[in-house]
Subunit: 260 residues, 2 copies
């Protein structure tokens, strides 16, 4: 380890559009000597940095984290770029896990995290304010956690009438689980509960639709999709586009969850 140790900033550029990337992130990207990240995210930063670009595959988060920390240990000023918010199901935990496992190796490296707009916020803003009341954010990926933990959390969140945002809802390797997950939620929600489906939110290919628990089709969903499932109080407006749904700030005084 060098005595002239540098810095690693784990930054989030938001969900794709540069107009959602904060000035703090942009300034750090512009000043960095090195940009480390999954190829498509590095592409987003390329036009506004003179740093060296280190593109990696999306599956090698631990390697990428160690590479960034090693670069910083030689005095480099490194930005690790993530889409969305790096602190929400993204690179920040992956990098800090390495610090935690091998703390002494990078003790002199300064590490910071810069927040970004996460996909659930971006999707919510496209249709109104479905996250306007208490909500949960759950990743359906069972690569790093057991499926029964996921279904237990879904059941708890649904029974307590949280709005639920789902990340990583479906992949080629687990095509059937999303239907099971929605069935868990449906035990506690009416069939007409709004389900907001956002694909490629913030990108040119963006597709946002509002369906309901009854008409939702899991096969339309892939890893580029984020879902928001309304609570019992989430309402639809009679408007053709833009602001069409929201969860009111107030909650009925009896506090009862309407049964399906």
């Amino acid at each position: 380890m060098s005595s002239t140790a540098g810095r690693v900033s784990v930054v989030g550029v938001g969900p794709g559009r540069s107009h959602w990337c904060t000035p703090a992130v942009r300034d750090r990207g512009a000043a960095a000597t090195d940009i480390v990240g999954y190829g498509p995210y590095v592409d987003l930063v390329e036009t506004w940095t003179s740093g060296r670009l280190h593109r990696s595959d999306n599956r090698v988060e631990a390697d990428r984290a160690r590479h960034a920390l090693d670069l910083a240990a030689t005095g480099r000023d490194v930005v690790v770029v993530s889409s969305g918010d790096p602190g929400i199901f993204a690179m920040a935990s992956a990098l800090i896990e390495q610090l935690d496992a091998h703390g002494d190796r990078w003790r002199q490296v300064d590490v910071e995290v810069l927040p970004g707009i996460t996909a659930a916020q971006a999707l919510a803003s496209r249709v109104g304010a479905p996250l306007g009341h208490d909500f949960c954010v759950i990743s359906l990926s069972d690569v790093l956690k057991p499926w029964h933990v996921i279904t237990r959390r879904l059941a708890a969140a649904a029974a307590a009438d949280f709005v639920i945002a789902l990340y990583n809802p479906r992949s080629r390797h687990r095509p059937e689980q999303l239907a099971d997950a929605m069935a868990v939620v449906a035990r506690h929600r009416r069939p007409e509960t709004p389900v907001i489906v956002g694909r490629h939110v913030g990108r040119d290919a963006e597709q946002v639709t509002i369906v309901d628990l009854r008409t939702f089709d899991p096969t339309t969903v892939d890893m580029s999709t984020v879902l928001i499932i309304g609570s019992s109080t989430t309402r639809l407006l009679d408007r053709p586009l833009g602001v069409r749904t929201y969860t009111p700030r107030s909650y009925p005084d009896d506090g009862a969850v309407p049964k399906p």
Copy 2:
């Protein structure tokens, strides 16, 4: 209603610092003919807009929303400014509630929501990545919802081992409820569970501390505070400043929640 109806954009400037305000929000604020909002938030926009400023009290959200919509109905290009993310316990739901209650009055008005960094993200980034795994966001304010709904949600979130972010944790009008809320959580968490306390996050007066469930003192908390309570897997690092805590992406295979 005018046939030349305008637009209302409900925007979030993030938690105080201009370097967290997205270009999308800044561009809308700069182009607006009118800026409507709680005084301190309007102050944040004042330097980069030539629009007319309409400052209001923080307690009159419905009046402010109707005022903005009425201005837009006369053809004005109105920005309603909120701190944080307007879609998360903020102005977006308040405004859409008015649209929902009096839809025909503003049918020609174009309404949009632009997301911002919310306080929990900002606080999380200051200390690492405590929101790196499934989490809930709960407002403890019982102005608009019954307290028993809040405690039911806390119990559900704690039992299912979510990380929990708490907004509006304590006010002068309800000084005792935070201790009750933490007691609900403590029934499902170990005493050494990290509690991250952020006051005025993103502002000059920012204070961020990490305590635990045992040492947490509710009397240090006010309405300018946001709290993040770790899950059973949230870990502390032996580092003096900056990145000091995170919730790993992986979850133990037995899925058991360690009992207090």
